[in-house]
Every structure is written in C-alpha cells, then in structure tokens.
C-alpha cells in the first residue's frame, strides 16, 4: 500500500511533465503562427517610441490605446527553468514566454488602433508585471501591457 502511494507520488508529476510538454509545445506553436499572421496583417500600422510627431504628419485626433495579456508557461517549462536556476544562465523557456506576451500585447494595441482608423501609434510603452508572485510553484505567469497614442489622420 505504501509502495503504491509512493509510486503515485512519482507518477503524477511525471504525467504532468508529459502533459505540459505536449500541450505546451502545441499551444506555443499555434500561438506563434497566429502572432506571425496578425503581425503581417498589421505591418502597415507603424509603432513609434518617439514623443513628437513629425511636422508633416496629419493628425486630426489622438487617442490612447492599449492592449494587454496574461500568459503562463507550462509545467514542463517551469520544471526546466527551476533546473536552470541551480546553474544559472539563460532561461530559454521564459524568454519565449515574454516574447509571446509582448508581441501579443502589441498586436492587441494595434487592433484597437486599427479600429479607430489610426495611421501610427506614438510614444509606445511596455509594462510587465508578474502575477501570483511569491505563491509556491506559481512563478511563470506574467502580464504584459502595451500602450501608446494612436494618431488618426
């Protein structure tokens, strides 16, 4: 009986790792495909970090736009990251998480600007915060916010 429970103790994390690896990879690949497709669609809506508009640019109206997303890593990636934290170095698994979050937030902001008929977004800022910081086993979800000023010609 005791062996059985010990076996289960070992098996459950292993199953979670496998599930996380499989589902996480699929989800990430699908997400990247959708990101690339939408980036292509919105590529004519330029995002600028500058504060001042060029004098030649027509601007009848300016509007604040924002986009945000909360994104989380899977169980497998979290495990890999925890291993990495023993030795230090680049944590690839979290890099892709943040990359996905940033690009998704930008796309949502662009979508909002496009709906307003904007030609460009000026003074764009990013804001990143980790959700559920400090909760055990819960590191690995971040909120990314992108905001800026949509310039409507």
């Amino acid at each position: 009986m005791q062996y059985l429970s010990e076996f289960a103790n070992l098996l459950i994390p292993l199953l979670l790792l496998l599930a996380g690896y499989g589902a996480g990879r699929l989800a990430e690949r699908r997400h990247y495909r959708s990101i690339l497709r939408r980036e292509e669609e919105l590529s004519d809506l330029i995002i600028v970090i500058c504060k001042t508009l060029p004098a030649s640019m027509p601007a009848s109206d300016t509007r604040l736009v924002m986009g945000s997303v909360v994104v989380s890593v899977d169980y497998f990636k979290r495990f890999v990251a925890q291993l990495r934290m023993i030795f230090g170095g680049r944590v690839h698994t979290y890099e892709s998480l943040l990359d996905r979050g940033r690009r998704e937030a930008l796309l949502r902001m662009q979508k909002q600007a496009r709906a307003l008929g904007a030609a460009a977004i000026f003074n764009t800022r990013f804001e990143t915060s980790s959700i559920s910081k400090g909760a055990k086993n819960n590191i690995g979800s971040v909120e990314v916010l992108a905001y800026g000023t949509a310039v409507i010609p």
Binding site: T52, L64, V70, S72, D74, Y75, E104, F122, I131, E143
Partner: protein, 104 residues
C-alpha cells in the same frame, strides 16, 4: 476628454497646467478563476480570466483618473502612464496617472 501618452496635443496649444491626476484600484483574483488558472498553468498559454480581470481593473483606474481631471476642469490628460504592483499574494494595484491640462 483627450487622453494621450504624448506631451502635447498635435496642433493645439496648452493654456493651463492643472497638475497631476491619478486613479488606482486594488483587485484580488477570485478563487474560481484561480482554480481555472492553475489548470492552465500545467499546459501553458493565455490565462483569459486574469487578462479580463486586469484589463477591467485598468479601465476602472483610468476612469477614475479621467474623473479627477474633469473635477479639476481639465479637457485633456497628457503623458499618461500605467503601473502595476503586487500588494499581497493574489492582489495587485493598478495605477494610472498623467498631467491634467486645458488645451485650446
């Protein structure tokens, strides 16, 4: 009310500066969303419940800032910034701030 992350409104001069305006809100996530999110934590991906919660909270903070600006008699808020900080485990504060001005 014009809100912008720029320092000026293109083509319109600022006539009066009315100082800083801000709006904030502290939100805790509720347990149902938390359970759903912990499942999602296994497979990864977007946590929709939290995305909605935070954008709703941000809208409220933003509205409060705009209300404060209206109370001061402003017609624009410039240089708007957002910040988020976690106050306690599971609760975060969202702040929106900017400078209230009167433009032509």
């Amino acid at each position: 009310m014009i809100t912008s992350t720029l320092e000026s409104v293109p083509g319109r001069a600022i006539t009066t500066h009315l100082g800083i305006v801000q709006g904030s809100t502290v939100r805790a996530k509720h347990i149902g969303r938390d359970i759903a999110a912990s499942f999602k934590n296994i497979v990864g991906g977007e946590l929709r419940g939290y995305s909605e919660l935070l954008s709703e909270a941000r809208r409220e903070a933003f509205e409060r800032m705009v209300q404060q600006a209206e109370a001061k008699g402003a017609n624009a808020v410039l240089n708007v910034r957002f910040t988020t900080s976690s106050v306690a485990q599971g609760a975060s504060e969202i702040l929106a701030y900017g400078s209230a001005v009167v433009v032509e």
